[in-house]
Each structure stands twice: as C-alpha cells, then as structure tokens.
C-alpha cells in the first residue's frame, strides 16, 4: 500500500496554508488528520502532487466560548472534542456522536474539521452539526466567510469549500441544557454507520420546547429531519408523540444501497432509530 509520490508542506499559519493552496491549486490535497485521505492515497484512488498538512497550525485547534456559540477549531481531534467540557455543556449531541467515530486510534488522529470537510455521507459529524445549526467558517484569499450547514454540504464528498479555501472552524449555537443521543447502527464496531440518528431536545415541564434531529447516511449529504422536529416541538414528551413524530423520519430521504442494506431497509431503519434516539434523549 504505497501511495504515489507527492510533495509535502506543513504550514504553521492559516495564511501560509492559503498561500500554499493558491500556489498548488488543484494539484494539492489537504491533510487534516488523514484518516480518510491516507487510505485513498495508499489504495491509489487519488494521487495529488502536493499534500498540505494543517497539523501544525495551532490556531485551528481547540474549542472556544464565543458567547452565544462555541467555536470548534477545524483541527481539533475527535478525542478532544468528545471530552471537551464546552462541547459537553453546549453541544452535547456533537460530543455523543464524536465519541462513536470509528475507533480509538482514528479518534486520536482524525479531526472535526477534516471529517466535515471530507463530507462522507456516512460520517458521524455532519448530521449533528447540521441539526444544531452549525455555521462553517471558511478562510480564503478574499478573507473569511461563514456558510450555514444547508449550504456547506453540497453533495457526495462535496462542500462549499472551494479549491483555494480552507475550513477553519465550526461555530455551533449553544444548546445549553439540551439532552442528546446519537443512535448509530452498525454491524461491527469500527464500521461507518449503516444509518444513524442524532437527536437533541430541550424539554421543560414535560413539554418539548426544542428539537433538532439529524440523519446520517440517508442521502448524499447529512439531513435534518425537519418534519420530525416540527411534530415534536410544543408537544408533551409522550411515547405516542415520539412514535408518530419518528414515523416521519423517512420523508424525503434518498438513502444508498450497499452490502449492508438496500434503500428500502434503510428507510424503515431510520424511523426505528429516530424513535430510539428521541426516547434516549428524553432519558430512556
């Protein structure tokens, strides 16, 4: 498993990284942990001339409190996101989902921004980020721009980040006091999810005041189950309400078919998993 030869550059600032991107353009790939890129290179499914490593840009690492939101630096490793107190307090769903990414080794190498920018529809982080209304901070030659999740994920492995740009961080509005559960369905532990559902809820006095539901691997991009959310908000948190809301989870999804299950099976599965995710988020 030897990759084709490439040149390697490891900038220490975002500016340097952008300069490298400007210089090498479409001849370059960004490595941000490498947990998806390296297999692709080693299997020679891709052969960039240049690999730009963001691993030495310290400003992209860590989680910051920004008042109404938290900012997760793109190069924050999964293991750090999963155990970060700010994330646990204000974006519990992200913490839960991140803790299930692949295996321990991958979580110690892979990064939050790397995974999101890779935009694998079976990746665990897209749906929680989308459901929480995350904003994606992108740096480019013209400066910084911020795009919402609905615009960020554009298709299979496709995002709003263009060739001369970098994802530098993800801003997540605080969901303080929201309970959360990420229901992931796999056959073996280290597998990409066949389907997964992230649910996070704000409940007060038995009434669901807020609901955010994200679906993983149910289409070319992460999906937000708006119909389910609407059916929950303002309702009493009863079993009946959860059941009938979860039944809407398959509306409009276009899941893939593969060795682990065809699209019809996944459409069924997503309703069961949504019910379970909501039920768990409500405290079982």
């Amino acid at each position: 498993m030897i990759p084709a030869s490439f040149d390697y550059v490891a900038p220490t600032t975002v500016e340097e990284a952008l300069a490298a991107l400007a210089q090498y353009g479409d001849e370059a790939k960004i490595i941000a942990g490498g947990q998806s890129l390296l297999p692709v290179l080693r299997m020679r499914l891709n052969a960039p001339e240049w690999v730009i490593d963001l691993g030495r840009i310290d400003s992209l690492k860590g989680v910051r409190d920004e008042g109404d939101s938290i900012l997760i630096g793109a190069m924050t490793r999964h293991c750090d996101v999963a155990t970060d107190p700010l994330v646990a307090e204000h974006a519990a769903l992200v913490a839960r989902a991140t803790a299930t990414v692949a295996d321990e080794q991958v979580r110690h190498r892979g990064t939050f921004g790397g995974a999101l920018a890779h935009a694998d529809p079976a990746g665990d982080l897209g749906a929680p980020a989308l459901a929480l209304g995350a904003e994606f901070v992108i740096a480019g030659p013209a400066g910084e721009r911020v795009v919402p999740g609905a615009e960020f994920f554009q298709g299979l492995f496709e995002t709003a980040v263009s060739e001369d740009e970098l994802l530098t961080g993800v801003r997540i509005p605080k969901h303080t006091g929201w309970t959360a559960h990420y229901e992931k369905f796999v056959r073996v532990a280290h597998q990409w999810p066949i389907c997964a559902v992230g649910a996070t809820l704000k409940v007060s006095g038995g009434v669901i005041e807020g609901a955010a539901i994200g679906l993983t691997n149910m289409g070319a991009t992460p999906l937000r189950a708006s119909g389910v959310e609407q059916a929950l908000v303002g309702q009493q948190a009863t079993e009946e309400v959860v059941h009938s809301a979860a039944a809407l989870a398959a509306d409009g999804v276009e899941p893939p078919s593969d060795l682990n299950g065809d699209a019809d099976y996944r459409r069924h599965l997503v309703t069961v998993l949504t019910r379970r995710a909501i039920t768990q988020a409500l405290g079982g």
């Binding site: 498993m1 030897i2 084709a4 030869s5 790939k29 960004i30 490595i31 941000a32 942990g33 998806s36 890129l37 297999p39 692709v40 080693r42 299997m43 020679r44 499914l45 891709n46 052969a47 295996d103 921004g113 790397g114 995974a115 920018a117 890779h118 935009a119 079976a122 554009q154 298709g155 299979l156 492995f157 496709e158 995002t159 980040v161 994802l167 369905f185 056959r187 073996v188 532990a189 280290h190 597998q191 990409w192 066949i194 893939p256 078919s257 593969d258 060795l259 682990n260 299950g261 065809d262 099976y265 069924h268 599965l269 069961v272 998993l273």
Partner: protein, 825 residues
C-alpha cells in the same frame, strides 16, 4: 562445560498453563518476518493485475514502465519459459477431473480480476509500484461467469476451451461402499410414512484475512537458492519449486520465518512465489515481493463458496434414516493446490455424530471467473457441520421436540466407541452425553429456555434464540494410506528429531511449521516431560528445510496429533540410546537402571546421572561402551493409522431485535472434548479465536462479487472482520476422552471452534424467529436479511444486487483513477 541438573520432580509440564515462549518476539515485532528481510542489492517486484474477470489480452505496452526511474525490467508471460514452473493441482479428486493449466502469469487470457499479467522489478518497492501503474494492457473483454448458480448452467464458460465449467463429480454412496443402506429408498420410504426435510444452504465465500500479508524473498546468489516465504508449507513449497522448475530439490532451501497467521490461506504454492523465484534466478539478484492488503484480499485464495442441497429422512418420531447431499463447490478460476479436494474433506462429516443408516454425498466442483478457492480454517468440515447441525434443528422443529433431544435420540452413545460410521470412518473415542451435560449446565439451558418462552409470550420486540451445535470433525491429516486412496498427491506423516547439545540442552526439530499456533511452547512441554529436562532448556526449531529437512507442515489440526507423536517417539529413541551408555558409566546393569525425573538411577543405590550429564559424556566420548556411537540424537517419522475426532457441544444465545433485524450475542458456552490437553492456555486461545472466526461467517464476513466479477468487498471497509469489540467473553470447558491413535491421547483443536460455532449462531438466530414463521436466514445474517426474513418470510435473500464498495477496490490495482470528488481531507 557444565551439566544441567535434571528438573526437580514436581508437576509435569503437560497440562500446565505455560505462557507462550514465542509471544514476546511475535507481539513486539522484534523478529524476522519475511518483509523485514533486506539483502544487499535486493530488487522489489510489483504486480500488474487484471481489472477484468475474463478478457483476452490483446497487447501489453511496457515501454513507459521500463523507462521509469529505478526500474530494472518489466516482464510479461512471453518473457518467461518453462523454467517459470506452474501452480500445481495436488488433489485430482477424480481421474477425469478437468483442470486448466495454471501459469503463474496470464498468457493471452485472464480468468479472474486480480490475475497477474505483468511484473515490474525495480530498485525500491515504491518505484516498482509506480511503474506498475504505467504498464498499459489492452484487454478485449469476454463474458464472465461469476456465480455458482450461473456456472453450473454451462452457458457462459470460465474456460471456453474446456467446453464446460464442471471440473469433477465426486460421489460417495453408502450402499455402494457397503457402509450403509440405499439413501433413495430411505427417502422414498420417509415420504410415505415419515419426515423428509429438504433444504438448500449457502456457504458464502470467505477470505482468510491473515494478519501478515504474504511476502516472499528469494536469494539466488548462493550454492542453494534460498527462499523465505510467509507460508504454512515450506516443505511442500520446496517440492513444488523442484517439481515444476527443473531446479534440483537439493539446490533449494525454503525458510518460513515467523509467519503471521494463515488459517489455510498460506497453504498454497502461489504465482507470486513462482515469479519471485524465477526473476531472482534470471537477474541473479535477491528479489522481494510483499503484497498489499488489497492484493491479499483480491488474489490470495478464498475459502468456502458452496451451495448445499440437502435431503434428510427420518421416522415420524425423529429417528434419522437417511441423508443425501448434493453439493456444488466453486473452485474459482483454477484448481488450487488442494482446492479441488476441500469439499471432499467434508464428505465424511455430514453424518457427524449421528447414526445414519444410509448416506450419499455428491459433489460437483465448478469453475468461475473468480479468485480460486482452497483451504480455509476447517476446510470442508465447517460446511458439513453447518449443514447437519442446521438440519437437526429443523428436524427437531418438525417433530416438535427440543433440539438437544433430537440429537440425543440419534447420536452415537459413549458405549458404542470405537464406532464405524456410515461414511466409513472409525471414530476412536468420544462422549457426546458428557460434553452436552456439562455445556447445558454451564449455559443455564433451562433458565434461558424459560426466558425465551416469556419473551415469546410477551411479544417482546427483542426475541431470544438458543442455538445448538454438537459437532465432531476429522482432523490430524492424516493417514498417508487413506490420503492415497482419496487421490491426494502427498502423504500425511510427520517427522521429528531430538538433538542433545554438549551442555545438555535439547534441540527439537519438527517438520510441522507453526504460523502462530504456539508449537515452540507446547512441543517444549512434551519434551521436557519426556526427557525430564527444564522447559526452558528445550529449543524448538522448524520452518527451514535446511534444519527441518523432512516434514509435511501445518494445516488440518495435525501438528500436535501427528507431529507431537513423532516427537514423543524421537525422544523415546534418545532414551533408548542413552540407557546402555548410562549403565556403562554408572557401572551397573541395564536391568538395574530406572529413569525418572530426567535421571537414571541404579536401583537400590544413590548413584545416578542426569540426561544433561550423559550428553556431556557422550560429547566427550572418552568412555563409551564398545561399539556404541557417540550420538544420542534421534529421529522418528510417525504416520497415524486414523484421523482424529474432536467433538463438543456448543450452545449460543442470541438476542434478535425484530424491529431492526440486529442480532446480538448474549451468551456462548462450549464444552469441547479434545482428549488430553498439553497447554490449556494455548487451547483457550485456539478455541476463542476459532469461535470468533466461525461466528464471523455466521454474522459478518462475505466476499461479494458484482455481476462483472469485481470483488466488491475488497477492503476491510466492506469485508467485515470482527474485532474484540464485536465479541463477548466465551465460557469454555472440556471433557476428556483421550484419543487412542496417539500415545499422548491428544486431539486437534486448531479448527474445532470455527467448525462448531457457525451453526450454533445461525441456529440461535433462527430459533429466536421460528414462531414468526422463519426457518432459515442466509449467511451472513445481516440485520437486513433478518428483518426481511421476519417481514417477508424469506431467508433474507441476496444483497449483492445492491453491491457498492465504500472505496472502489477495482481501481487500486489498475490505474490512477480519481474517484473522489470535492475536498478529501
């Protein structure tokens, strides 16, 4: 020189939980794996492989590759002559077996995706791999036949020149053999007034997936050509080189250094080994080839891949009367070294532990345009065990009794051993009642049955199923005479030598070639007991034809039961040789000598001498009896009279989520009877690993081709190997019925867990769902299949129509295709 004191008399080594001697170096990697070997001036090979399952090669342009940096030469089939040799078919199961010639490199036609069409030799592995991408091969695609179902129709041919896909039809019939009655009569009679169970089971294709990819190094610069290979079979490989290349065997040395797993997958003479051997000789330089993981999954041999049509007849109360097996076995594109005969290893095991009065086995081997198949842990016996253990559960359901009750009604009782079966084998020892009683108790069988009834009554969305597998198997390959009668192209004896060094240490040489089993530890324990020397003083040498000159290597759970017995006999010969010398030195009569705890003593005196002291005295040879050689070293070759028949009762509880089809193992208990145990810790390791491998067939692993013959499950993303996170802690125990065919009383354990566990798991899944009308779930029991079985009443059907790989494996070999879009980070 100091003589080593004899080991103090204490507990014997045999039966002790010795930590494995070899583990420190194997676990830390501070050892010599084939890929670690680097020789001066060594060149590296990379293979160019066909992306097509079946195609004519219309042109190969190597010019760009030849010009690439670091490249020494690029070769295609036309560049080799007959000295390249061929891959051998060592088990022509019938005289009229069809077997196309199997060249190591495709000539004008490729017959499976992954077949080698060109090879690059370069100064580095990276340069070789880069240049391999530059070799341009023109193909004219031919129709490919991929599935067994299609191949038997003989419409599309894997090898058009053969005129058929059918290689050999092998039949055993108990009426013809005189070992039982006529099975068709038994079935006809049961149709009138009894029970007939007819089922078709699929043994999906599996990939051995050993941890260390295959690697081979050849150094042609000495007087002997030396080959290091990550192989299970150094001796057989040397024979194959000599037999097919014209190089005398005396000029070839094969070394299997530490080898990281095989599971049958390294029981092969590979095209890559032949190419490395040939190119090293041609260039006069050392050459190395190490496969990538993708290449390993794609082109190292696969296992299983059978369709079993089964008919079992019984009386109304569940007494079995006959069993008919019609089996189609997928050979892949060629008849591999023993691939033609693997299904035949199952022929004698479908009747298992039961007293069938009539039995017939029909096996049709078939070619397809897929990777060739061969031995994989259990080889033939897991397939047979799966079939019969699933059928016995079906029979129990039909009769309406507990699956253990139907087995008890039909099994051989312990008073009946030795028992000659309807397949003609004589089982030497066993006690199915005892193993089952112990397993039931460990399992809490009745309690789990109660819980199952409750869940059924409550319509619990999570149902509980209990699966039974009362397996036996034939292992310890094997009596040479029997192998001869089955047209197997080799014998089955094993060789051992015991050497004493001047300081009284012991070197043991075995022809068995370990690749993870722990021979060094277990064999040291045996010899330590036999010679009365410390465990630490025994060194086990193996896997090098210059040191272990004779041997038949390691597979078929044979090392201990055949190789261990050879070792015992060699050690005993040492003692026979030593005794007159000891008597001479102790100035006593041979008749007055006793040997205990590693010392000869003169009865009635305090005079004695340890084996260490004796070997020092023999080395000096100052005072030996007249006419006695100054040599205690001894060797023995042991050829068993019979196979070896471990058995056991495995009980598995599975929880089945009826909403999603997800299955979860709740409890797994096994009580295996493997005769006397040398090292319980090694046995536990073998059982645990074997169980997981069998469970993996039931639940996870599946080598899937698409209709064009591309291996879809060509990476570990799509070929689901379990890890520790996917398994539970197993409860294992043993009953002991010593084997009567070796003096240690041991039975093989290398394959037992794998053979037993697959049907236990599937029986449990089906048992959970039987009230819902389910009587089968196709392996692997994916959640989707289980869900469909519940909702559609089918066995879950095929998912291959929807096959899509997470990574596309076909491109890993055939070019630099960018299939990912957008940012890859």
């Amino acid at each position: 020189m100091t003589a080593v004191d004899a080991r103090p008399e204490q507990a014997t080594e045999i039966g002790r939980d010795r930590r494995r001697k070899e583990d420190a170096r194997l676990i830390t990697g501070r050892t010599r794996w084939t890929d670690n070997i680097n020789l001066p001036g060594m060149l590296h090979l990379a293979m160019v492989r066909s992306p097509f399952a079946h195609a004519r090669i219309t042109g190969i342009d190597t010019s760009a590759a030849e010009d690439a940096e670091g490249v020494v030469t690029v070769l295609a089939a036309k560049d080799f002559d007959e000295t390249l040799g061929v891959c051998i078919n060592a088990w022509p199961i019938t005289p009229d077996q069809k077997a196309p010639a199997h060249p190591p490199i495709a000539n004008d036609r490729v017959t499976f995706a992954g077949e080698i069409v060109a090879v690059v030799a370069a100064r580095s592995a990276a340069a070789a791999r880069d240049a391999a991408e530059m070799v341009e091969v023109d193909y004219e695609e031919l129709p490919a036949v991929v599935s067994l179902e299609e191949a038997v129709k003989d419409e599309v041919l894997a090898h058009p020149d053969l005129g058929t896909n059918k290689s050999a039809l092998w039949v055993f019939d108990s009426a013809q053999a005189g070992t039982g009655g006529n099975v068709d009569e038994a079935i006809a009679s049961a149709r009138d007034d009894g029970i007939v169970i007819e089922r078709t089971y699929r043994q999906q294709r599996l990939i051995p997936a050993f941890m260390e990819p295959r690697s081979v190094v050849c150094d042609p610069t000495g007087e002997q050509i030396t080959v290091w290979s990550a192989t299970q079979i150094p001796h057989i490989l040397r024979f194959a080189f000599a037999a097919t290349t014209g190089v005398p065997e005396s000029k070839i040395r094969v070394i299997a250094p530490d080898v990281g797993g095989g599971f049958g997958g390294k029981l092969q003479q590979t095209p890559e080994e032949m190419l490395v051997f040939s190119i090293a000789r041609r260039l006069g330089k050392p050459v190395k080839y190490t496969e990538t993981r993708s290449e390993s999954l794609l082109s190292a041999h696969h296992g299983r891949d059978q369709i079993q049509k089964l008919t079992l007849s019984a009386t109304k109360d569940g007494q079995v009367t006959g069993l008919k097996v019609e089996l189609d076995a997928n050979l892949g594109a060629y008849v591999a070294i023993v691939g033609g005969g693997v299904p035949v290893l199952g022929a004698f095991m479908f009747n298992a532990i039961y007293k069938f009065p009539a039995y017939q086995f029909n096996c049709q081997t078939v070619f397809t345009n897929t990777t060739w198949t061969d031995a994989y842990r259990g080889a033939g016996r897991p397939e047979a065990t799966y079939a019969i253990e699933r059928l016995m559960d079906e029979l129990a359901a039909e009769v309406g009794v507990d699956p253990l009750e139907i087995r008890e009604k039909n099994w051989i009782t312990h008073e009946e051993f030795p028992f000659t079966t309807v397949a003609g084998l004589t089982y030497d020892s066993g006690n199915y009642e005892a193993a089952t009683a112990k397993a039931k108790e460990m399992f809490g069988y009745d309690e789990l049955r109660r819980e199952q009834a409750e869940r059924r009554a409550n319509n619990d969305p999570v149902q509980l199923g209990i699966g039974v597998s009362t397996f036996t198997e034939m292992c310890g390959l094997a009596p040479s005479r029997v192998l001869g009668s089955l047209d197997y192209g080799a014998g089955g004896w094993e060789h051992a030598q015991v050497r004493l060094t001047p300081t009284g240490k012991v070197e043991v040489i075995t022809g068995a070639s370990a690749h993870g089993q722990g021979h060094e530890t277990a064999f040291s324990q045996i010899v330590a007991d036999r010679l009365g020397v410390p465990f630490e003083d025994v060194e086990v040498l193996h896997g090098d034809t210059q040191i272990a000159a004779k041997g038949y290597d390691t597979y078929g759970s044979r090392s201990l039961v055949v190789g261990g017995e050879a070792l015992v006999r060699a050690a005993d010969k040492v003692l026979e040789k030593a005794k007159p010398i000891a008597a001479h030195l102790l100035e006593a009569s041979v008749d007055d000598l006793e040997f205990t705890g590693g010392r000869w003593t003169v009865r009635g005196t305090d005079q004695g001498m340890s084996i260490g002291e004796l070997s020092t005295a023999v080395f000096a040879a100052h005072n030996l009896p007249d006419g006695v050689e100054a040599n205690l070293d001894s060797e023995a070759t042991f050829d068993p009279e019979n196979f070896n028949f471990p058995h056991g009762t495995h009980l598995c509880a599975m929880e089945v989520d009826t909403e999603t089809g997800q299955v979860k193992m709740r409890k797994y208990v096994c009580c295996d009877d493997i005769g006397n145990i040398i090292n319980p810790l090694i046995v536990a390791g073998q059982v645990h690993g074997g169980l997981v491998q069998g469970i993996a067939q039931a639940l996870w692993e599946d080598a899937v081709y698409d209709d064009a013959g591309t291996l879809v499950s060509g990476s570990f993303v799509d070929y689901l190997l379990p890890t520790a996170a996917d398994t539970i802690s197993f409860d294992i125990d043993h009953t002991t019925s010593p084997a009567t065919t070796n003096t240690l009383g041991t039975k093989g354990v290398g394959e037992a867990g794998t053979i037993a566990s697959t049907p236990a798991v599937v029986n449990a899944v089906v048992d959970a769902l039987r009230p819902l009308g389910v009587h089968d779930v196709t392996m692997p029991c994916t959640p989707e299949r289980v869900w469909r079985a519940i909702n559609e009443g089918s066995a879950g059907g095929e998912t291959t129509g929807a096959a899509a790989a997470h990574f596309d494996p076909s491109t890993g070999m055939s070019g630099n295709v960018d299939r990912t879009e957008g940012d890859v980070q």
